[in-house]
Subunit: 239 residues, 2 copies
């Protein structure tokens, strides 16, 4: 299949999290996910609530829309989801973007492997901790990490909501000690409309995660980050 | 001279800004600066207000204090100021830290060169924009950038308060296109005690800087960041 199910295309904006935090980028968000994380902040990509917005697009159509939105104000595109690694057709998009001189980032939980994952510039693998109620297939994650060793910019990111998640994060960091590791504060209020309260809650949770990390000798060579887009724009979509 | 004038030693905490944003680190803040930036958020290092706290310390004494505070919970030390590049004696500290297996970051505005700057792991050069009322010596900055080309992790960071600063940032980025570039929101309220208002102001300014950057085709391959420590801890010192 050569088309890609696209939920939304937006930007230029900043990457709000992980290794590229603050980076100017465009976003292509694919529809569909093989997971159902309890606290998913992109549930509209798979829960049917926005299914009328999904478009089956070719790589060229996606490029045209990216260019219409971003003109000469971008050199980087982030493919996010849902889980973009569900689709072999994204290989076309990655190739086309590289032809255009655009750098490409991919965000995926690491449950599926696609050959084109070797061709992205920045890869974020975010295995989901126990609070998601999902189970990480570590054999698959091993395979992906092994396959992308060649990439200069692969990183791991674990969202942490509680102590059990933190232990999961330690285990992942110890399993792949050579992959740059990012801890991220979870957003438990993905439907909250009051931005002031949201920011207060998120910064409080961030401080909690910083404190835990600072006292943990197994978590020295790591970064702890909030989601900047949630601090700036709250739970709004498409920013 | 073998001693280093130290203002404060603290951590472990996170690096709140720039290329290492979110990184677990210890801080060694030196006293003294050759600049007098109008909005300096570390003015206590040079304005005399905390001069009784300054200690002349050897590298060994600094290491002992770092270890007492951080034990086995750190593998990274950030040397900040003031301007640490005033002191040739910091070479001893850099060497000692590297012997201990600790990674070393340096933050300086780029007004002075020291040979030991070649030995740090992470170097942040932050030339000051016009709103600081300081004038950047571009010849010196050229020399430093040229000298540290060998470093894997050198970056430029420019604080932006207004449109004139933004143009300065563009000029710096265009002068050194191959050095990773960071835009940072200025904190105009360095004495404000009300953290809620501070956070609101900082996030508003951050959004302003994001918007400006997104519309600027000369600022594509860059990152725009806030100061995380100011969001989490306000204007408190030593965090
Ligand atoms: S993997 Fe990501 S998109 Fe899928 S359910 Fe979990 S959080 Fe949502
Ligand atoms: S260079 Fe840094 S420490 Fe020195 S006055 Fe300016 S902001 Fe303050």
């Amino acid at each position: 299949m050569t088309r890609i199910p696209v939920m939304e295309i937006f930007g230029p904006t900043i990457q709000g999290e992980g290794a590229l935090i603050g980076r100017k980028t465009m976003f292509v968000r694919t529809a569909g996910c093989d997971y159902r994380c309890s606290w998913c902040d992109s549930a509209f990509t798979w829960d049917g609530s926005a299914k009328d917005e999904i478009k089956q697009m070719t790589a060229e159509e996606i490029w045209n829309q990216l260019y219409e939105l971003g003109q000469d104000c971008f050199d980087h595109v982030t493919i996010s989801g849902g889980n973009p690694a569900l689709y072999s057709s994204i290989g076309n998009l990655v190739n086309l973007l590289k032809e255009k001189g655009i750098k490409v980032a991919l965000e995926t939980q690491g449950s599926k492997w696609q050959e084109w994952m070797k061709d992205v510039d920045d890869l974020t693998l975010s295995p989901k901790p126990p609070s998601s109620h999902m189970e990480t297939d570590l054999k698959m994650l091993d395979l992906i990490v092994d396959n992308v060793k060649v990439l200069k910019n692969a990183s791991l990111k674990v969202v942490v909501f509680d102590d059990v998640d933190f232990q999961f994060a330690i285990d992942i960091h110890e399993r792949y000690p050579n992959i740059p590791f990012y801890l991220q504060v979870g957003n438990a209020d993905t439907t909250l409309k009051d931005d002031d309260i949201l920011v207060k809650n998120l910064l409080k949770k961030y401080e909690w995660l910083i404190d835990k990390t600072m006292m943990c000798p197994k978590m020295n060579d790591i970064k702890v980050l909030p989601q900047l887009h949630a601090l700036v724009w709250g739970n709004k979509r498409g920013v």
